[in-house]
Amino acid sequence: MTRAVVVPSALLLLPEYAGRVDPAPELRSACLAAVGWLIEDAPRRVLALVPPADPANVARGVSTPLGRRVADELLRRSGFAGDVVEDGPVDVHTAVLVVADGSARRGEHAPGYLDDRAVAFDTSVEEALMLADSSALESLDIRLGAELLAQGVPALQRLGALDLPVDQVDLDYAGDPFGVQYWVVRWHCAS
């Protein structure tokens, strides 16, 4: 049975940016629990769906996409020893890890300041995730997403394109503690 998980691509999930106190312990534990569940049945490979690297960061010498590093870190901490791929077919031996989040413009203290469209956009994304509405995810507005600093949109579109046969959805975390919408979602798929 294929499983899929969505986690955010927040830098604070990476150990190199850790402070003495975890700024988001609930988020981190939800991510680790969901990824632990993802690999519970020992899939041979994990398909990591991640947004492309930020071109500005690439220009500054950081070429590995942030989402890939978050995926690798969560899988490492969960003890996964199989292959992690960014392309390829999804079969019964494959688990899907999507590293994606919503708008970073959800308030006056958000990284991109307040954009009044952000909440409605994120609500529509959350509905699509909860309903496992593949066509809605695949047709997310990439331009609006970019304007709202919703860096996860390309990865969510790829999740939609897989058109997985989902028969149960669990929302383990939803929140915007720093003005960026995060979700931790688990999709149970029919075999």
Binding site: A56, R60, A104, G112
Partner: protein, 287 residues
């Protein structure tokens, strides 16, 4: 090289304190305390008494907030520069702006230094500095536009990026006609940087000083201090002064600050420890 800031020249070993004077209703630290022109002028008198060498006058909050267009920015700062110039002829007047039209207006009123805190966003600004024979601060922002916050910004080597960007801007200023003795670089803590980046820039500031350009640091009460010590804006003085001491030991020349007296003491003390400044008095065991 002698540092020349408009009509003022300073020796190689001079270390300067630049006091922040906001002509804004909403800046993060003072929250409009000097929004009225008279209060701002009082603040200038106070910081001069406390030992400031430079005042840095800003008309637009650095962070997100209501739009302030060039006309409004000029209204806030240009006439005020003229008043400060008249009252304090020996004071270096800096204006914190990224806009060339504002730069032109304040230079006409006697500004000596243009603090281009958004890193060359308006390439015309250095031409204005050249025409007015004003000095300019070249700032690292990591490519961020004015009044934006960093979001998931990363660097393979943040100090290398600081050096490449600021020396590139300095070269551009000189090519535009700014006197090389009138160019200062600023690694810009918190601008385009997370707290770990700003700590690394502080730790490795000597590499920035080694470029040979005079270095300005703007550390005062910033988020990287607050996050490091988990303290709100009003309780960051000790952390600011610790960072100031580290930058002073590395050789930073200009300190942009809210608290002048405290900064002056820390910088003078470190400058003396570093052997760059004799003690004010030395009697102990010397009789």
């Amino acid at each position: 090289m002698t540092l020349r800031l408009g009509r003022h020249a300073f020796d190689d070993d001079a270390v300067l304190v630049m006091a922040i004077v906001n002509r804004t209703p909403d800046s993060f630290y003072d929250r409009g305390a000097t929004w009225s022109e008279d209060r701002a002028l009082e603040r200038v008198g106070q910081v001069v008494d406390e030992g400031a060498d430079i005042v840095d006058i800003g008309g637009v909050k650095a962070g997100y907030g209501p739009d302030v267009d060039a006309t409004e920015e000029i209204r806030r700062v240009a006439g005020f520069v003229a008043r400060v110039r008249a009252d304090h002829p020996d004071l270096v007047i800096s204006v914190d702006t990224w806009r060339s039209e504002v730069a032109r207006a304040v230079c006409a009123e006697g500004a000596d230094l243009l603090n281009d805190a958004w890193g060359g966003h308006d390439p015309e600004l250095v031409r204005v500095a050249a025409e007015a024979d004003a000095a300019v601060v070249c700032t690292h922002t990591g490519g961020l536009g004015p009044r934006t916050d960093p979001h998931r910004v990363e660097y393979a080597d943040v100090v290398r990026d600081v050096i490449t960007a600021t020396t590139g801007l300095a070269d551009r200023a000189v090519a535009a006609g700014v006197d090389p003795a009138s160019v200062v670089i600023d690694p810009a803590h918190d601008f385009g940087k997370n707290t770990l980046h700003s700590l690394e820039v502080t730790r490795r500031l000597g590499e920035v000083v080694a470029t040979g350009w005079p270095v300005l640091v703007s550390l005062s009460n910033k988020d990287f201090v607050g996050e490091t010590l988990d303290l709100p804006t009003g309780e960051r003085l000790n952390g600011t002064l610790a960072a100031t001491a580290v930058c002073a030991l590395a050789g930073a020349r200009i300190y942009r600050v809210h608290q002048v007296r405290e900064t002056r003491q820390v910088v003078d003390m470190v400058w003396s420890i570093a052997g760059r400044r004799p003690p004010a008095t030395a009697r102990r065991g010397l009789a």
